[in-house]
Symmetry: C2
Subunit: 419 residues, 2 copies
């Protein structure tokens, strides 16, 4: 694991308020790491609704399959209820075959016993090494004492317990009015490597005391993820374990918050915006903690034939090793950007293409911008945040993707650490 | 540019025989590099046929557009004739707008004048930095004296003149019977970075004295490229300049070689095999000289639902930064291989998947192989050639792709050198 904190880590870490109906506790269960917490238990009040989006990998982890099945089950019964979330770091319980499925069932059973709920109300996520059996008996005892210790305010500790190669814990919070009540949204995430979209990337958990029905929560989550977690890539590699879960305890109903049954409910407007902002904040922190990252890179594509086409082009640029290494080298190498646009397979006309780095246009109409001053751009490239704006001049499609540079440290981290 | 030769460079460099009807000469025109050759002129006898495959990039270089147009033109007229090939390194003449098109026209005009042929019989390729105007007036004088100097045997010098970040010149040769005559096939290539398939990758030129009509040569080339150059990737980045041209002088007709008008002609069987072997040899050398490469990696996918599906899965593994860094770290991290299979989006059943590294099975039926001995595999991973065999157990689709590992040197080369 990396020892030093990413130079792109946020300088202001928010105070995380408690959320009525959510209690947290962490422990060092010795899953893989020594001397640090690696298990998180979140306990939710009865009536908490849950929604989730997951990796599109064809080889998902056992916990992803568990959560998908429980969400599917709950749709047909009482509607997406959750009492607990158990997360461990150090072992992803992925590609562990039958023993992996047994481990998820055992973990849920242990948690359910400790909390007096049904196993299908227990949601699970695991992150860490793939292909190693997860010894779920390690949770026996641990989860019982965590259930007893769980307290409202342990958000930073919770975010720390789910880290792997992350160099800083990732949290975000927002408070917003829902009807006459103030409701809170807290989120945490872990990321760092094996980060590419195609669903909620990596592990992220969002909690609110707003009373939102499971179906509405699922719609909110799905809509919110597209331009946040799905618009972030570190290395184009999609984890087998990517999981984003949202929990709504409904406790704010006691303070007068209206019960929301539809995502389109106009009373939910401010909440939806704040919910999306929490997702965007967490997603950006994932890019800021990309393995070995020294630069946060924002790719904006405009003038594409559609938003979808703009997304594909932006992702082609964001995942290009040659673009990413150029940025690591503080080189405004727009020729590589052209290359990455060209290989995306989407409509693009070289002779209409314009490219800017941090607001300085370096290429227009298919050639170098006559006003392009190498020294000015070189100076701009020293900035820790690099914005690449690509104007295609074909249509109105626009999109934005976040990534980071590709450094020798990425290679070092991934050539040494088995994740 | 890298100073030391790739540890994966072939130890036996073939003696390159002359090819009747082909003369070569190189010069240092000072395009970008100092103190090294950077222009190659190949002069072909009258009646030489030509075929080509090119990058699928939507933003191709000016020379790619030039060659495509000339091949297209010749189809409708006298059928794919070439008298000259001019290649320069140091500047790709890509994304250079109108001045790029003028540079190609001027280069062809200068060569045509020097040789007394038509400009549309002159084929062009450029490699190097993108987006910088190419000063074609530098070819004036140079091409004239090259035409005078051109001689049959300068193959290694020619291969050296077209290098950019390559650490060794890439040549291959084969001699084979066609009818009663012996015919020769010589090839050269340059690669190193920005290497991904979707056509002939990078620059490669193949010459033969066999008398093969342009249409038949085009068919041979297209068929030959799929499992050779298109099955190689270094970094998943597709160049705007990728060009593979084949020239057939027909000189062997004088020695009794039959004139071939169809690629399916049974007399061409041995030739086709040898031609493909030359392409395969050059393509493997490109992977062996991948920027920063320390390991040649062969990915074999079997049991996929189709060859196409197998190719996509193999490419997903070959382009995964996490798989490539694990190999650089000599870690048989099959979990990352599972990840890369899973993200390919192709049919795959985790519970049927088997994975071997250099013949040692590490995973089967969706979990770690019980017989998997970490020490034995670790030792095998020290080999400079790594074979990853992935058995999906779904169908009969099979494919093979070559790549290399991802090292800190790749980042260093591409963070410093503007290519």
């Amino acid at each position: 694991m990396s020892s030093s904190i990413s130079p792109l880590a946020p300088t202001n870490v928010p105070d995380m308020p408690a959320i009525a109906g959510v209690k947290l506790a962490t422990a060092a269960a010795g899953i893989r790491y020594k001397g640090r917490t690696d298990v998180l238990l979140a306990v939710m009040d009865q009536g908490t609704t849950v929604a989730g989006v997951f990796t599109l990998s064809k080889c998902p982890s056992a916990p992803v399959e568990w959560c998908r099945a429980k969400l599917g089950r709950s749709k047909s019964s009482r509607g997406g209820l959750a009492r607990a979330l158990v997360v461990n770091s150090g072992n992803a319980n992925a590609f562990t075959g039958k023993s992996g499925r047994q481990a998820t069932a055992l973990t849920a059973a242990i948690a359910a016993k400790a909390l007096g709920c049904h196993p299908h109300e227990v949601f699970l996520a695991s992150t860490g090494v793939i292909g190693e059996p997860l010894d779920a008996t390690k949770f026996d005892g641990v989860l019982g004492s965590l259930a007893a210790q769980a307290a409202p305010g342990e958000w930073m500790g919770a975010a720390r317990a789910i880290m792997t190669t992350d160099t800083f814990p990732k949290v975000a919070t927002a408070t917003v009015k829902l009807g006459k009540a103030r409701v809170t949204i807290n989120g945490m995430a872990k990321g760092a490597g094996m980060i590419a979209p195609d669903m909620a990337t990596m592990l992220a958990f969002v909690f609110t005391d707003a009373p939102i029905a499971a179906g509405a929560l699922q719609s909110l989550l799905k809509a919110g993820v597209d331009d946040t977690f799905n618009a972030v890539t570190v290395d184009g590699d999609t984890s087998t374990s990517d999981t984003l879960l949202a929990f709504a305890t409904g406790s704010a109903a006691a303070a007068g918050a209206p019960r929301i049954s539809r995502a389109g409910d106009p009373r939910l407007k401010a909440f939806t915006k704040a919910f999306r902002a929490v997702l965007a904040d967490l997603a950006e922190q994932v890019a800021r903690d990309g393995e070995g990252a020294r630069k946060l890179v924002e790719i904006i594509v405009e003038g594409a034939v559609s938003k979808k086409s703009a997304r594909r082009i932006a992702m082609s640029v964001a995942n290009s090793p040659l673009v990413k290494t150029a940025i690591a080298g503080e080189d405004a190498n727009w020729g590589r950007v052209v290359m990455a646009v060209g290989k995306a397979g989407e409509p693009a006309d070289r002779d209409r293409l314009s490219i800017s780095f941090n607001g300085i246009r370096v290429a227009k109409s298919g050639a170098r911008d006559p006003s392009y001053d190498e020294a000015e751009v070189s100076s701009a490239m020293k900035n820790p945040k690099i914005q690449i704006r690509i104007a295609l001049g074909l249509g109105k499609g626009r999109d934005r993707v976040l990534t980071c540079d590709l450094t020798k440290e990425y290679v070092a981290i991934n050539g040494d650490y088995r994740s």
